[in-house]
Every structure is written in structure tokens, then in C-alpha cells.
């Protein structure tokens, strides 16, 4: 599985739109400027880089603006003027529940997924495809293999045995990426997200080469509160320390400069998670339990709720770092609003269910905000965090980091044997179901689950490429104190 290789052009368009919306909202003529975004991005006579004509380009940009304003694209009437949508976004009391929305106009109507015999087929004598097929779906006719689509189950065995590699599997990228079958084309060829099944992992967002899956942004809701003079506190997920070209202390100052009244690291909460999770692990093992899974990845938690309830008894009852951090912040400043700065879409769902987290801002949206304000993070002054967090907590963002942190608090003879699920795919889900059914896991007694390959640094809303982000974050981790110095 590829780690965090964002589609550069689709990310570019999405970020440009966010930056334009933010700048418009910070200016004096929000509604009109929003209405003009598609026209400014594709003025009369401009190139038509991607679609059939300038009108379709603009129509798609319009829909992307709707998502940037935080609405479901399908629910905004197509005759509505963007200025009205912009106005509505400032009146909204609460952000929308489901974080993802589909842009049907940008969706390419990909060919439905199936097995396809290409022209490379030589109509050979051995015909291994015929004998490999268990469903009698493939036959050589007129010197070429043909697939009876009514019988084909898309198992792909014929493709595996073809000596000419002449048989290929046509995939729909979003369907193929979704580990839980929540996104699919219906009979009319329209793509739909089934919110009952969706675990908000964001894999479809990264997979779609047309950028047709959008997250509904909460950026207007956040800036509105800052504009209205509310105290808004930023809570930074550990993965952020690898995202922008500056030091953590400069990043803190940059975030204060755009209007937040305080900035805390979610690593604070990660230290509490580690302490509780280590104690819980020890207790469960003493009781003779076979294994425990971690509980800090929001997409995994939603997977458990919706698809693998049988694994619940094995999942740690410890709360997430975001939970403990938000609890601390709200206890100290009950009148403040909290914003979780997130590398992924899934935390949006977690926040929705946690009254202590008011909003979620993705790293991409933060980046667009800096662009809109023309802030050079590398030139910002240094502002140190008031509370220190441990190296282990700051390393939660890297796959294997949570299990390492738990182990750092366990005695030598009680160390966990970690099994790390580095990216949730269909195979990993089958494995988890098997562990739950058998009540044991041969590969380890502490299963760390990260929905994104590479951990949070590989999240779908990150800015920096994985390798560079890891290098930057590791530098920060190496200069942080050991966990035993932080927690008592």
C-alpha cells in the first residue's frame, strides 16, 4: 500500500479554493467574492486544463466551493447562487454531521469494476483461463477469450494464470480503496457513500484521481467564532510537527497570529493515554486475556462500532489523546471553544461525539489559512509550549508509536508483544475479525491499529510527504524528554 502520495493536482485545486474562501471571509465582501471564485480561477479565454469546456470547469469549481463552505454538494440546489450559499454558511449553528460529500459533476463515471480481456489475448492452445475459472465464465470464441459477465464473479484467477498477462481487472479507484464497501456506483452509474457503513477513513478522498470526494470544511465556523471575539483554543495532533517548514515553537506563534488564543499539543493527552493504556494492558494480561487492541485511531473505532462489534471486548477502554487533551483544556477554560487540528477525516466523527471538541481543522485547511493570510511560518517568532510532552507521546503519529509508548511503561518481564496493523485494508479487517472470533492473536498480544499506512503522518489531510514529515517529526521527538520524566 502506498503511503501518502497525494494527487498533486487535485490537492492543489482543493487548497487553492480553500485559500480563496478564507481570504474572502477575512475581507469585507465575502458573498460576492465567493460567487466569483469559479470565474477568477477560470476567467474568459483561459485554458481548459481538465474538462470538456470552461463551463464544466467552472461548474465543478462551484461544487468544490460548496464543500469548502461546509455543505453537502448534493443538497445545495443547482440553481442556487454561490453568494447565497456563502451567506448560509455564516448563519449555520452547527457543522454537518457526515464529513464527506461527493461531487457528481467531477466524478468520471468510471467503467464499473470488472475483469476484462484485452487485445493482447492470443487465443492460445493451453487456455489456462478456461480451466482456471470455477464459474464457467470464460470461453475462447473466434480465437479470443471472452468473459460472460453474468457468470463472472471477478475473482481474477484467469488474469493470474494468463501467460500473456492479457487479462486485466478494471477497477473503480474509490470502490477499490474503501475497506468496508461503503462507496459504490448505483444502478444509474451515480456514486454514493453509504453513511451507515462509512468509517470516515478518507481512503476514497486520496484514491479518486478526479478529486471527486470532498470533505465538508468547518473553516467558516471556526473563523466566525474567532471574528466574533470568542476564545478559541488550538489542539495540535502530534502529526502536525512534521507538516510545515518551521519549528514547533514557530508553528505555535503562527497559529496565535491567525487568531487562536492558546495552542496546546495533543501529545499532552497522549501521555495520559499511554499511562492508562499501559495499566489496562497489564491488568488484562494478569486476568489471563489473550490480547488487547489500541483505541486511539478514530477510523478504527468507527470500524469496530459498525463492522466488528465482536472485537469490542478486546479493544482498550482507554480514551484517545484528543479526548484527554480536550478534557484538560475545557476544565481549565470552560468558556473557550476547542479546535482539533487533524491529519485525517475520521477525527471529525470522533469530535462530533465528544462535547469537549467543538471543531476540527485539517492540516490542509490550516495550510490554506496561512496562504490566505500570507504568513511565513519560518519567519515567525518562537513561542514555547507551556507544558512539556514526552518523546513517546509526540511519536504517537508514527505507526508503531503507540505500542512503543505503552511498552516503555511496562516492566521488562511484562512487555507486550506488539502486532502493528499499518493501514486498514480488506485483509486487515478479515484478520481482525478472525482474532475476535478465535479470541486470540498468534502474532502478538497488543494489536496497534492505524487506519493509514505510516500512521497519522500518512493521513489523507496531511501536507508534507511522508518521508520528509517523518524526518522532521523524528527530530522533535529526539529532543523531547522520556515519558517517565513526564508522568508520575
Amino acid at each position: 500500500m502506498a503511503i501518502n502520495t497525494p494527487n498533486k493536482q487535485t490537492s492543489h485545486i482543493k487548497r487553492e479554493i480553500l485559500a480563496r474562501i478564507i481570504r474572502a471571509y477575512l475581507g469585507d465582501n465575502f458573498e460576492e467574492e465567493v460567487r466569483m471564485i469559479p470565474f477568477e480561477m477560470r476567467p474568459k479565454g483561459s485554458e481548459v486544463p481538465y474538462r470538456c469546456c470552461i463551463h464544466k470547469e467552472r461548474a465543478i469549481l462551484r461544487d468544490r466551493v460548496i464543500a469548502g463552505l461546509g455543505f453537502d454538494i448534493e443538497e445545495v440546489p443547482d440553481y442556487e447562487d454561490l453568494s447565497s450559499t456563502a451567506k448560509k454558511s455564516t448563519k449555520r449553528e452547527k457543522p454537518e454531521e457526515h464529513p464527506l460529500t461527493l461531487l457528481q459533476t467531477a466524478c468520471n463515471e468510471c467503467v464499473p469494476a470488472r475483469i476484462h480481456v484485452t487485445d493482447l489475448c492470443q487465443g492460445c492452445v493451453a487456455r489456462p483461463c478456461e480451466s482456471a475459472c470455477k464459474f464457467g465464465a470464460i470461453k475462447v470464441e473466434n480465437g479470443k477469450s471472452r468473459i460472460d459477465q453474468t457468470k463472472c464473479k471477478s475473482c481474477g484467477l484467469c488474469a493470474q494464470v494468463c501467460p500473456f498477462q492479457a487479462i486485466t481487472k478494471i477497477i473503480v479507484p474509490c470502490e477499490n480503496a474503501c475497506p468496508v464497501g461503503a462507496i459504490a456506483k448505483d444502478e444509474d452509474g451515480l456514486t454514493k457513500i453509504d453513511h451507515e457503513k462509512c468509517i470516515s477513513c478518507g481512503k476514497c478522498v486520496s484514491a479518486c484521481p478526479f478529486g471527486a470526494v470532498h470533505k465538508k470544511s468547518q473553516i467558516i465556523d471556526i473563523i466566525k467564532n474567532i471574528k466574533n471575539g470568542k476564545k478559541v483554543i488550538a489542539m495540535l495532533a502530534p502529526a502536525i510537527m512534521g507538516q510545515l517548514p518551521c519549528t514547533p515553537a514557530q508553528l505555535k506563534q503562527a497559529i496565535l497570529d491567525i487568531g487562536f488564543c492558546d495552542v496546546v499539543e495533543v501529545a499532552l493527552g497522549a501521555d495520559i493515554t499511554t499511562k492508562n493504556e499501559a495499566a489496562e494492558f497489564e491488568e488484562r494480561m494478569e486476568k489471563g486475556e489473550e490480547f488487547m487492541t489500541t483505541s486511539c485511531c478514530a477510523a478504527y473505532n468507527e470500524l469496530v462500532e459498525k463492522h466488528i462489534p465482536e472485537i469490542k471486548p478486546f479493544r482498550s477502554d482507554t480514551k484517545t489523546p484528543a479526548y484527554y487533551t480536550a478534557e484538560l483544556v475545557k476544565k481549565e477554560q470552560p468558556d473557550a471553544l476547542t479546535v482539533f487540528f487533524s491529519p485525517c477525516v475520521a477525527k471529525r466523527r470522533e469530535a462530533m461525539q465528544n462535547p469537549n471538541i467543538d471543531f476540527v481543522l485539517s492540516f490542509e485547511e490550516l495550510g490554506a489559512w496561512f496562504v490566505a493570510r500570507n504568513i511565513q511560518v519560518a519567519n515567525c517568532e518562537k513561542s514555547e509550549f507551556k507544558k512539556e510532552s514526552s518523546a513517546q507521546a509526540r511519536n504517537f503519529a508514527v505507526t508503531g508509536g503507540v505500542a512503543d509508548a505503552v511498552n516503555s511503561l511496562l516492566d521488562e518481564n511484562k512487555k507486550a508483544k506488539a502486532h502493528v496493523i499499518n493501514g486498514l485494508d480488506k485483509q486487515a479487517i478479515r484478520d481482525l475479525k478472525k482474532f475476535a472470533k478465535n479470541g486470540k492473536c498468534e502474532l502478538g498480544n497488543l494489536i496497534e491499529v492505524m487506519a493509514c499506512p505510516g500512521g497519522c503522518l500518512g493521513g489523507s489531510n496531511t501536507i508534507n510527504s511522508y518521508r520528509q514529515a517523518l524526518k522532521q517529526l523524528s527530530g522533535y521527538v529526539e529532543n523531547s524528554p522520556e515519558i517517565k520524566e513526564i508522568i508520575q
Partner: protein, 85 residues
Amino acid sequence: MAKVNVKVCLGTTCFVMGSSNLQELLDLVPKKYGEDVEVAGSPCLGLCSIDWEFSKAPYVKVNDEVIKEATVEKVLAAIDKELKA
């Protein structure tokens, strides 16, 4: 022969708009061209703020040529052109 000079803008705007993905040039270029080309990340080159041209970011400079919406491929092509000149 004069060295070709490559500056990858790592200002915030360029970084967010895509130069995070251009950091691989810092490893790739010395491997490919050795001593002939000098490559470095640069603080903001100031190109994005001219008439709010952030939508054309990321920017890379190859000698005096400014490359808009830079990609690894575009930069390598520009280096090849300079080396031939």
C-alpha cells in the same frame, strides 16, 4: 562551465501548494548531475505575493528562469535546457 543554480522555494505558500513534494529534488539532483548543478531549498522567493499569484505556486528558480506550478519533471527539463545552453 558555470554551475546551474536551482532554488526550490520552501516558503509557506509554496510548501502548502506543493513544494513539500519537491523536496525530493534536493536528493535527486545531486545524484543525477553531480557537481554541475547546485540545488537548495530557499526561504520565500517572494513570487507568490506579486499580485497574489499564489495559485501558480510552487515556484522553483533554475538560474534566472522562474518555473510556475513546478513539478519534478518540469524542473529536471529546465536543468537539462540550461546545461545544453
